[in-house]
């Protein structure tokens, strides 16, 4: 009955089975081919390559929206209410390490992303200048290294790609170095091997930035709408990088590099570097000339729409046609806007618990008179009893002063808050949740955003990084410092001669402010003082312009920029007009500024890897 089992048969079967299993195991553990995208797919066509490039536009963080409370006015422009977690407060106390604090929700700025590198930020909680700039740099280098793979494209398309890549490589370096000083210049795709590039001096880094921006300008179009490929997005191209943007940043890069702080860092001389200033003037001139001839679309926005540099009350993005470079706008719906709570005191519907900032009197003093004179100049017409009469029109665009009518509609029940009660003990004032200084900042928000007039449903806030007015003023500074006098101009085209003085007056003229008085045209220093004041007025609270200006001018340590003051006064009516009596200026905050505060500290772990990448002095 028993069947014999053939042992060899079993062994044979077993061996064959084993072999089958063995040979298949390598493939068995392979990644599924469907899970991969090839390099050719990424870089093969303009469409895909441009998709690769455009992520970099998202690496320009919107500084006004980093969390529910955004802080970017890191110098003397504003005073926050008495809370401990504001970035401004920490900076005022000299705690520059705080830029590294990322509490994801409250006390953090656009400088550092909430959760480390978020490579494709699509909302404002994810932005961070530090992280995104480094990411963008890698991206630019990866793109440049793969340019040869872009085969199916016209020359124009290839140029567009190359121009953008070069611009962003220069731009991201500039973003970083303007805050942290000279850095290694990253111009290749780095691998995971040993990284030991030395930090260059500021000017060495800047020269490499300039090289990239300069050649970017060659490849970039003056107006995307006029390119073949731009027609695909006709009318929607305004925010793309152009020749003008490249020249604007090229000039800014040279001007910064030639400024006293950077010159001192690189050469030891705490003065302007004339050569670099001349180069800056050239670049700014090229930028302005493109607008002058009408080739480039950038113009100063007319005075009536001045606020559209910063916000609109429609679906349209702000900035057209003055803005050269804006961040991306991340919309979270009506009312969800950090600027709401930043500028409005609780009595106007702002946050009750101290999210406010208010401009200090020490800064507001920069706003001169409509006639163009500074307040303290003889014959300025400044009246201490009526301090808010006859001021520079931009004062009224940027600042709410005592007695100003805030609420337009509503019945008598609104009267308790209808006019800005910014006098001492007025209901707009409070140390812990109102105006601490006697002023409100209104530059980035419409006055009618109050709960009664309620024009708060659709406001697009998007202050620019660089706009044409800034280019005019930087041109003025570069020409003054490079060529020596307010009457100097860059030796450009004969049909477009622009002196330093003209450039400032163009900006003032747009705001219907009187030209620079002759008293300030006699010397370099006198005119420089007007440039400093003009920049404070025109560019108040925009990006980190003031923070960088005070530093690069080596002025940040001066007491006048360290003491933030408030005014205490009573309201009265004199000659039928509201008056401020018993006015006293009081120091609220004295900023801690020492030599080390000219640069932000680098993260400790980064400067502890090798000696050639060291910490900034004093940190």
């Amino acid at each position: 009955m028993k069947k014999k089992i053939n042992l060899s048969k079993i062994l044979y079967t077993y061996t064959v089975l084993t072999c089958i299993l063995m040979t298949s195991c390598e493939e068995y553990l392979d990644k599924a081919p469907e899970a991969e995208i090839s390099e050719e797919e990424v870089f093969g066509t303009f469409k895909s390559f441009q998709g690769f490039v455009e992520e970099m536009y998202h690496c320009i963080p919107d500084y006004t929206k980093s969390t529910w409370v955004a802080d970017w006015n890191l110098a003397d422009e504003v005073i926050p209410t008495t809370v401990d977690w504001r970035l401004i407060t920490h900076f005022d106390n000299g705690d520059y390490w705080y830029w590294l604090t990322t509490a994801c929700g409250w006390n953090q700025s656009y400088l550092k992303a909430c959760n480390g590198v978020v490579t494709t930020p699509v909302d404002w909680f994810q932005v961070g200048l530090w992280d995104l700039s480094w990411y963008g740099l890698r991206k630019a280098n990866v793109g440049l290294a793969n340019l040869d793979k872009l085969v199916e494209a016209t020359q124009e398309e290839k140029d567009l790609i190359k121009g953008q890549l070069l611009f962003f490589r220069g731009f991201f370096h500039f973003q970083l170095m303007s805050l942290w000083g000279g850095l290694p210049y990253i111009e290749e795709v780095l691998g995971s091997g040993k990284l030991d590039l030395p930090r260059l001096s500021y000017q060495e880094t800047a020269k490499k930035v300039a090289r990239d921006l300069d050649s970017a300008a060659l490849f970039l179009p003056t107006d995307w709408d006029k390119t073949t490929i731009g027609r695909a997005t006709l009318g929607k191209n305004f925010q793309r990088i152009t020749k003008s943007v490249a020249y604007g940043y090229l000039g800014k890069n040279y001007l910064y590099a030639g400024s006293p702080l950077m010159n001192k860092e690189s050469t030891g001389n705490a003065t302007y570097d004339e050569e670099l200033c001349k180069k800056a003037a050239e670049a700014f001139y090229k930028c302005l000339y493109l607008s002058h001839t009408g080739e480039a679309p950038y113009r100063l926005i007319e005075w009536e729409r001045y606020h559209e540099n910063f916000y609109t009350l429609s679906n349209d993005l702000p900035g057209y046609p003055e803005s050269l470079l804006s961040p991306r706008f991340f919309w979270n719906g009506p009312g969800y806007d950090p600027s709401n709570s930043l500028w409005l005191p609780p009595v106007l519907g702002g946050n009750l618990d101290g999210n406010m900032v208010s401009p200090p009197h020490s800064y507001v003093k920069n706003f001169g008179m409509a006639n163009g004179l500074p307040l303290d100049a003889e014959g300025s017409g400044y009246d201490t009893l009526h301090p808010w009469t006859g001021r520079d029109p931009r004062f009224y665009e940027s600042i709410v002063h005592d007695g100003e009518r805030v609420i337009q509609g509503g019945d008598a029940s609104e009267d308790y808050r209808r006019y800005a009660n910014l006098y001492t003990d007025g209901n707009y004032r409070s140390e812990n949740n109102g105006s601490r200084t006697g002023y409100l900042l209104i530059k980035f928000i419409n006055l009618t955003a109050n709960p009664t007039d309620n024009e708060n449903q659709l406001r697009i806030n998007l202050p620019p990084y660089m706009r044409l007015a800034d280019v005019y003023l930087m041109y003025a500074e570069a020409v003054l410092q490079g060529y020596g006098t307010p009457q100097s101009s860059y030796p450009g085209e004969s049909n477009y001669v622009l002196t330093a003085g003209d450039a400032v007056n163009i900006v003032r003229g747009r705001a219907n402010v009187g030209a620079v008085d002759a008293r300030f045209l006699g010397s370099k220093d006198a005119f420089m003082s007007e440039i400093i004041r003009e920049r404070a007025v025109e560019l108040m609270c925009e990006a980190n312009i003031r923070f960088c200006d005070l530093r690069r001018w080596l002025l940040a340590k001066n007491m006048e920029y360290r003491e933030k003051t408030a005014i205490d006064f009573d309201r009265d009516t004199i000659d039928g007009e509201i008056a401020a009596i018993n006015m006293k200026e009081r120091v609220v905050v004295t900023r801690v500024v020492e030599d080390r505060h000219y640069w932000l500290p680098l993260p400790t772990d980064q400067v502890s890897i090798y000696r050639e990448f060291g910490q900034n002095p004093g940190w």
């Binding site: 009955m1 069947k3 089992i5 079993i10 068995y28 553990l29 990644k31 599924a32 899970a35 995208i37 797919e41 990424v42 469409k47 895909s48 441009q50 998709g51 490039v53 992520e55 536009y57 529910w68 008495t82 401990d84 977690w85 106390n93 000299g94 390490w97 705080y98 490579t119 494709t120 530090w130 480094w134 990411y135 740099l137 890698r138 280098n141 990866v142 850095l183 290694p184 990253i186 995971s192 990284l195 997005t233 305004f238 925010q239 793309r240 679906n315 993005l317 057209y320 991306r328 519907g349 101290g354 409070s430 140390e431 812990n432 601490r436 709960p451 772990d605 502890s608 890897i609 090798y610």
Partner: protein
Amino acid sequence: MTLDYKKLIKEKRKMGKTNKRLFQFFSLSNSKREKLLRVFLFSVIILFSTSSFAQENRIVKGLVVDNNENPIPGATVILKESTIGTTTDQYGEFSLNIPTSGNQILVISFIGMLGEEIDMTGKDYIKAVLVENLVEIADVVVVGYGRQKKESVVGAISQTKAEVLERTGGVNSLGAALTGNIPGLITLQGTGKPGEEDPIIYIRGQGTWNNSQPLILIDGIERSMSGLDINSVESISVLKDASATAVFGVKGANGVILITTKRGSEGKANITVNSSATMKIPSRIPNKYDSYDALRIRNMAIERELGVEPGGWASITPIAELNKYRNPSSLEEAERYPNVDWQKESFKDYAMSYNSNISISGGSELVKYFTSVDYLNEGDIMNVRDNGKGYTPGYGYDRLNFRSNLDLNITNSTTFTANLYGSYGQKQDTWSNFEYTMWQGVYGNPPDAFPIQYSDGAWGFYPKDPVGVVNSVSNFSNSGIQKVNTTNVNTDFTLNQDLGMLLKGLKMKGVFSLDNSFISESGVIDWGGTYAKWISPDGEVFLLNESGRNRYDFVVGPWSYQSDSVQYEETYRKIFYQLQSDYSTKIGRNEITAMGLFSREEYAKGSEFPHYREDWVFRTTYNYNERYFAEFNGSYNGSERFGRDYRFEFFPSAAIGWMISNESFLQNISWLDKFKIRGSWGRVGNDAVSARWLYQTPWEYGGETYLGTTFTDRSPYVWYSEGKIGNPDIHWETVEKKNLGIEYAFFHGLLEGSIDVFKDYRYDILVNGSDRAVMVYLGGDPPTANLGETEVKGYEIETKLNKRFANSFRVWINCSMTHAKDKILAADDPALYPDYKKKQGYQIAQYRSIMISDFVNTWDEVYASTEWNANDGLKLPGDYNFIDFNGDGIINDYDEAPNGFPERPQNTYSTSFGIDYKGFSLFVQFYGVNNVTRYISFGNFPRQKNVVFDQGEFWSKDNKNADSFLPRFIAQTSMTGNYYAYDGSYLRLKNAELAYTFSSGLINKLRMNSLQIYINGNNLLLWTKMPDDRESNLGGWGGQGSYPTVRRINLGVKIIL
């Protein structure tokens, strides 16, 4: 009476019967086969009708006693290879009806005793003397891919069994039940949330900063033990050294937990019903001051800091106003000046949980079965208020588990095993995306912010900071209900074939397993809309509504039902198959076994690409005359996580053992029961890395730029980007484990124990990009790399005392202690860091901070104190002096130095003590840990909220020896050093149980075998310096508190029919 274990073992081995052959079955004539099948089917029917059927029978009687002549009630008496059986009565006597023909051997057994077989041929009455099994009740140990005799185990393996786990006092998480019951196993619990009480588990400390959780296998297949009911667990084996874990190759580096579920055994149907009710009481919650005290302390804080923050005047609260918080004169005033004890309002005094379990097991020679159904209902400690919306939210956990384990003997040499396990768990939660806000409210809300509900029914809210201060009770009561339903269906099929006909001792085994789990969600969706208001202390009323403040209208958003919808991205499936062959032979005194195995696994969740794994494993063991043991294991593993060059690796281990007590020269020492020395060495891997395909730099696609003229414009060009930067050299972590152990038993089992010393050296540990010292200008997360090295050293001591007196009085004590300390040997630290800043040289997750010394008491001392690199101008008397660790004259990052310990204890201690007397049993277990630091910042005045915790006496100029610094209010310096780093040591009365078992008299008349009533408890008492009762800042609001952990008091009944 001396014990002859060897003889007993030999006899047992004889019991394993051989062997008719598989093909016999197939070579039978049809009629015979039918006959066999009929017998098979018939037997199945018998299984479910527990009565035996009539035959020619006779009655045999007997008495079962222990070696002190005490009768043993409840002992099982079974006619061998049949379903006929009974148990002894209260006098230890039995009477059994057995067939006159056939097998005449009775198998007599009792828990804790060695079984006895007695041939009844020609006898009607016997007296059986059962000998206590003093050395080890379970003489078989579950090891990787098999079982071994306890005697011949040479690895470091601890095993615990069902009874130990069942007395843990109403704990429903298997992981939590293991705490203190396995030497070398360390657990950390962070939350008491129903259904989420599984702790973090470490075996012999933490050897890597990557996944350091042990591999968990249930019935041989990698599975989660979360949701498994304790009642269906037979035993848990914890494999700790390389000789035990190397067979799991690239998965076994962190230790392995093998869970074996109960199976049927031959005999009549055993029905066990176990039902219990558990009272859960919040354990320890940090104490917060009331409004009056908080505001008073705030005044003190403001006063102190006026010098640096004159703006603080605006925030002073006058005494008259303070009094209103504590003694309001009217309801109106009470609402303007609230005083809310958020913890008291949020938590109930206790909650109830219920657990019922019924299991039936038994079997015949042909089929053995174990079937169980387990139902659990975990109650909620949260205080839910009526929201007036018609639904009642809250947390909760309901679970229904079903298990059926069948073993079929198809032929004499073939067995087929089928396990079916199903589990349905329903976790109830709120439908809030911001769950942490609940805990933020409970622990962090100021008492004076607002009343939870105003007298008109309006909920309180806080317009001054609606995000920072949330009405957690309102949120909790108005955030809907989220029900997460988890369904698990696991099926295992195993075919065992004895190939003795080919080669004596050869067996083959094939396993095929399918696991599926589904998650679905249902409930009530409510976005939390409420009628809410705030009355300021000035009496001003603020209403919360959607369309801007001070509009006197409000609309509470409607809530809606969410019908049960499957979460497809969570759907999990796994296929596992395995082929195993075992061979054992005995040549003279040499006993050799060999095992070879091949397995593959494929699993995926949602729509991801499936994960693959492939293992080749072998093991050989050698045993010479029960004296010398040797074992060699190896595993050849593949993991899809690594590139082709690193895909497969061989992990070997070897171990030797010497049972000295079996040497002939020691045979005459009567008090020496056992003395064994064993040692092992081996390498094991860990591939549990964070991401897949780390060896590649992938390209990613998706997203577009916000470019255009309106805010909705998007660029038409879709993003491409470089994914995570890859590292082609990436490979697994390897740990080299060494273990030396002794096992001993003296004085006939009175004293027994083991000592193990171990050392793990782990290298090629993956360092995550963000933890690497790589320059930021790389431009992306640096690639993960094998740059870490650690070692873990430690020891385990286990001692058991067990004394049985006359009159079945028994006392036992088990003590165990584990010490495990890790040290980082390399971790890619920045090279220029001073040693104390490096991770190298310290434990994983070593606590580090700037350290406080004494108070700065005077302005002189302030000026003399070391400069702070930030906020130096805000220093005041009453602050702490910080230690300038590196002596460079400034307090900064470089003074953050290691102090204290990690959050994971270095030492754990467990002591159990028990008394059994007849039906009574009493048991207590203490569990403690030390050398542990836990950072829990219950900070005061966070974001200027009037929250002050009771941290003892505050500093003042008249009380310079205070417990705590006076908190800051406005001019906060955010420097608290290591003030909030608590000594995390604790001692718990972990478990206690009092039980009485009825096993005779009325019980028998009710046809029960035994009835046990027990009261036990878990986490009953706690001694610690920590402000709360959590072992880890897990869950909830992290360091700021979570669902409170609970103490449990459990009343239950267990009936065996």
